[in-house]
Structure formats: C-alpha cells, structure tokens
Symmetry: C2
Subunit: 133 residues, 2 copies
DNA sequence: CGTTTAACTTACGTTCACGTCAAGCAATGT
DNA sequence: ACATTGCTTGACGTGAACGTAAGTTAAACG
C-alpha cells in the first residue's frame, strides 16, 4: 500500500485507458511531469488532473501542442505578471473558440436529427411495402 | 462565365480555404466525387455540401474515414434497405457521440470560465500592488 | 504557332501521435 | 542464487492527412 495519492504508470494506464507509451510520450512533450522514485515514475493528483484535460482536449480535436498551452491555464499558481496576462489572453481566445465549436456542434446535431427522421420515414416505407408482398 | 453551379478546383480552394492537394486527397478517399470535363475536375452543389460537412467533422475531431461513413447519411437517396438500415444505426450512434461531446464541451467551457475569473482576480491584485508602489 | 497558365498524375517526403521491438535495471518471490 | 515481473530507455516502424517536387497535358492568349 504505497503512498496513497501517488500512482504507478500501470495504475494510470488502467485508470485512464491509455498505454505506458502514451504517458511517456506526453511527458516527453512536457504535458505531464511525474515525479521519480529512483527510475520509476509516480503520478500525483496534479498529473491526473492534467491527463483528464489532455484526453478531453483530444476529443475536441485539439493537437497536443494546443493542449499543452491550454494546460497552463489550469495551473495559474505562480506565474509572472506578464506571463499570466498572456496566458489569460490566450484563454479568452480559446474560450471563444469553444463557444463557437459548441454552436457548430448544436447545428450539426440538429441537422443529423433531421436526417435521422428522414431515414426513419424511408425505412418505414420500405418495411411497409415488403410486408405488403 | 462557365456553367454556373459548377466550380473549378481553384474556385473551391479559394471558397473553402483548402489546397488542391486536399481536394484530390478527399477524392482519392472517396469523400468527394467531382465530375470530369476532360481531365479537369468540376465540383457541383453536392460536392460543396459534402466538403462543408467534411471540414466541420474535422473540427469535431472525426477522422476522414468516420466522416466518409457519416456522409452517406446526408445522401440517403437510393440506398438498399439493408444498407439504409445500417447507415441509420450508425447515425444514431454518432448522434449519441455528438450529444456526449456537447455535454463535455459545456463542462469544459464552464471550467475554463471559472479559471478565467480566477486569473482576472489575480491580475487585478498584481495590478493594484504595482500601482501602489 | 509558340508560350504562358492552370490543372493533371506519380511519387516520395513530412508531421503527429503514438506502436513495437530490443536490451537493461530493480525489486520480488522460490 | 536465479528467474520472473515490471519498469526503464532508446530506436525504428506505422497510419493518417496531407505537402511538395517533377514531369505531362490541355486550354487560352498574343
């Protein structure tokens, strides 16, 4: 029962359905910063939060580089004033992007629903005619 | 003033901000089916509609292959019954995916707003303390 | 009729996001 | 003591989505 709150790479993989390779890759790209016990990696709460955000970002179609920049937004702890201001500005921009994407997504959902109704009717017709045979 | 309603590859590129390579690539992947006037491609209304859907799908993080399957949904014209049924089922699944994505997106937007408020306060503090000097 | 111009094909190159060995260290059980 | 298990670091491979360069053809222009 090692240190609670810290997870090995395998526990992380099982918990988030990713491979070790993926976690090491994210680390190489400076998206994660697990601590080292000897040679082994240990992931703390902070890394898990970041990983969640990474996986979510991917589902929205963001690249890892875009995600890396976004991650700083959730770690505003001890930034310099100028750096904080830049981060803040980037965040408002990203927020606008997301709101746009939500609008588009709403549209897409509506259109797809329409098409589904159409298909439903067509299927009903086909079924009716085959039953009439 | 060639045949209205039909666009050359360059007009398409300018209109949708893609490269010729991209359009030919989508054609190779059977996402677009421009008609041929001799060796040249001409894009009709149908292709433009499909291209819009392709670009939108990409913004949502779908792969071209996923998009290709989805495209059939908007072209339910003359499908076989069994094929139509399969397409329909796939569509309902995708719709569910999109609805999920919207929920996640809503969450993400909320969280980011929270972070922005936080950053705003921090910035205000920093500004106040530097002004007091 | 020669020459730009635009589109074409073929094919190899590139970036991203990992997958997949290969070889080595480190603790753990028998 | 030794083998198994789990993690490690390279390093090369891969599929997706194009980019890019080379050479070809066809229409249009002077």
């Amino acid at each position: 029962m090692s240190d609670e709150n810290l997870m090995t790479i395998r526990q992380m993989c099982d918990a988030y359905e990713v491979t070790p390779r993926t976690l090491r890759f994210y680390e190489a790209k400076e998206l994660l910063f697990p601590i080292r016990q000897g040679t082994k990696r240990l992931y703390a709460r902070r890394d898990r939060a970041r990983l969640k955000l990474i996986l979510r970002g991917k589902r929205f179609g963001f690249s890892l580089e875009e995600i890396r920049q976004l991650l700083d937004l959730y770690d505003l702890g001890d930034q310099q004033a100028t750096q904080l201001a830049k981060t803040y500005e980037l965040a408002t921009q990203r927020l606008a992007d997301m709101v746009n994407q939500r609008e588009e997504l709403d549209e897409a959902i509506e259109e797809l629903k329409q098409q589904l109704e159409w298909g439903e009717k067509r299927l009903a017709e086909l079924y009716a005619s085959s039953a009439a045979e």
